[in-house]
Amino acid sequence: MAGGLGRARGRGRFTPYLLVLPSGLWLLAFFAIPMVLMVSLSLQTGNLVDGFRQTFHWQNYTDGLSTYGDKFGRSLWYGLLATVACIVLAYPAAYWIAFRGGRHKSTYLFMLLLPYFVSFVLRTVSWKLVLTDNGPVLGPLRNHGVLPSGFHVLDTGFAVVSGLTYNFLPFMVLPIYVALERIDPRLVEAAHDLYASRVQAFARVVLPLSLPGVFAGVIMTFVPVSADYVNAEVLGGPRNTMIGNVIQSEYFDNSAYPVASALSFVLMAILLLGIFAYARALGTQDVLEAAGR
């Protein structure tokens, strides 16, 4: 009896660890070890032919920052613009589907997500066909004198931010929709019973309850948008290069692994700091909860 109980208790003690083991190993193999290797690489000097040696060359960081500092600023700025644009577009759409969608809610959601079944790059490249200077949109407008002759959309910051907004929209719509969908309609009715106008009911009841969804959406869009390079590559010109493009070309075109790693770490640090400040300021609990849904 006693032995049996002990065994059971012993197994119980280790169960949590065993349950964590697979994901722990996964994190170790595909996150922790690569991170250490990358930190190491970011401090090395050398080239592909002669090899790279660890020299604790901190200049990789300062060189990278001094050459490409403006690209960090631009990436964060574009990230901010695209995230705000996503909120403005996504909130009304999610609101409408959640409260006015009726029994076709899932159909509407599906329609919203349908374009995203096509590859990310293909979708971006097709914008290029649509927006070309003499293409189906700009050509007629210019011919009718609506647009000045030098006007173009492709290869501008506007095109890049629009592309980013378009590509990451679902990551904003879905969390907001989930948050709105969970709001008990009786709460709104109760607000009306207490003589709240429609605007007041929205501002005092619906909006606060949906904010966790917005927080989660911001994290899910801002981070990947700031690190994106496809949109700037396809839709941008020489003045729209983002830090992702620089890292990509340092790594793949130049095989300058140390500088590329250093730049990646700086980007990661900036984004992490931003997220922590954001989460602290607006309530970690809510954000993680919403993101985890």
Binding site: G51, Q54, K71, P238, S249, F252
Partner: protein, 414 residues
């Protein structure tokens, strides 16, 4: 001033309440940090410098025991094969080798980035034959020992039919690893619908008159060469000081807003649709364009001549089949249909007679087209033309690092 909740500031700046197991965590943290420190100093990336010079024994060692498998995976650039793959079909029929053809190479740098890791690890890249431009990346592949040494005894057609200028090139002495696929010229393409002047000079790419309507190439060697041509410098004989001067000119051109975009392959579309009015371009691309408005010129300062080379990655699974194709393409009758389509400079001069003979038999538009091709200086350049063209500079590893540092940031806006 709006009121800021002091709790917010506290939350942002102060650590959270310590937990009871803080000390144990600290120890773990310390251990983790120490471990990471050790790992940081221990690991490095080994140099992969291989043998750039091969002799007979290397060739024998590589090809011993290798046999035809009947399969071939071929990586090539876009626009380098008839749309209906006629040349591949003819090859399959003649040899029984089944070819999988993929247009996966868009730009030398990214292609090298893609294949470098598997080749360094000795793994297959999924291709037995690839076409690489003579330049920084091909040089690296040679130096790093990523390429299979070619067996001259199986390249009889190449020996018999390759043009004199295509054998034993400076970038691959003795054709140890490569034989040419096609050569081409980097010059200027312009759309006559928008550009009313005649374009003859590189200086016109820098003319503020065409602000926002000029395309340049993103590849640092192509871009750097044009900066040097503008200053009257021969890239092959250039020095780092020349590079700095050329880079300054190219930056000026960019910062004045003259350059709309730095292109890889997509300039063809942009110039024919009018997004840019003139652009750096490769000769054959423009010749195969259906749009009659786009013209190609070799600027009077000079153009670059480059060669795209067929080579076999060392880890190829079907190297004998790859070598068979390489040699098969050097039979003039096999090469002629390909040349008719791609419009680049063929390494097989024997095709000129075949195309001329076809032209004599043909009628109407086809006759006109074939005649144009067989007499085109861009497909069969005269010795005088060749003299005006310049070659890429070969760069040592140290020079390359310096070169890239000077030219690479330009297209990235820095």
């Amino acid at each position: 001033m709006t009121h800021i909740d002091p709790a917010l500031l506290r939350g942002l700046t102060r650590p959270r309440l310590a937990r009871s197991d803080a000390s144990r965590r600290d120890v773990l943290r310390l251990m983790g940090a120490a471990g990471a420190g050790l790992a940081l100093s221990a690991c490095g990336v080994k140099g992969q410098g291989g043998k750039a010079n091969v002799d007979q024994s290397d060739v024998q060692k590589y090809w011993a025991g290798k046999a035809k498998t009947g399969k071939l995976n071929w990586a090539n650039w876009p626009g380098y094969m008839q749309d209906d793959h006629a040349t591949i079909k003819a090859f399959e029929k003649a040899t029984g080798i089944k070819v999988t053809y993929k247009e996966v190479i868009q730009e030398s740098g990214p292609w090298f980035g893609k294949i470098q890791a598997p080749l360094a690890a000795g793994q297959s890249i999924g291709f037995d034959l690839m076409v690489m431009t003579n330049g920084i990346q091909l040089e690296k592949c040679r130096q790093l020992g990523y390429l299979a040494p070619l067996d001259p005894s199986r390249l009889k057609n190449f020996a018999a039919n390759a043009g004199a200028g295509f054998k034993n090139p400076s970038y691959d002495p003795g054709n140890a690893f490569t034989i040419p696929y096609e050569s081409g010229i980097t010059g200027i393409a312009y759309n006559t619908k928008y550009v009313k002047d005649e374009i003859t000079s590189i200086a016109q790419l820098f003319d503020p008159k065409y602000k926002g309507k000029v395309g340049m190439m993103g590849d640092s060697q192509e871009l750097g060469n044009f900066g040097m041509f503008l200053l009257g410098i021969d890239p092959e004989k250039s020095t780092p000081a020349d590079w700095e001067k050329a880079a300054a000119k190219l930056r000026e051109q960019r910062d004045k807003g003259i350059v709309r975009k730095y292109y890889t392959q997509d300039y063809v579309d942009a110039v024919s649709k009018g997004d840019v009015w003139m652009t750096m371009a490769w000769s054959g691309d423009v010749y195969s364009l259906t749009s009659p408005d786009v013209k190609f010129v070799v600027p009077r300062e000079g153009g670059t001549i480059w060669t795209d080379n067929m080579c076999i990655p060392k880890t190829a699974e079907n190297p004998v089949d790859a070598l068979t194709l390489m040699d098969w393409l050097y039979v003039p009758a096999n090469n002629a249909p390909l040349t008719e389509f791609v419009n680049y400079i063929t390494p097989v001069p024997g095709t000129q007679q075949i195309i001329a003979a076809e032209a004599a038999k043909a009628t109407g538009d086809e006759k006109k087209e074939l005649t144009r091709l067989s007499t085109s200086p861009l497909v069969y350049p005269s010795p005088a033309d060749m003299a005006r063209l310049r070659h890429y500079r070969r760069l040592t590893q140290a020079e390359e690092t310096q070169y890239q540092k000077i030219f690479e940031p330009i297209a990235k806006g820095s």
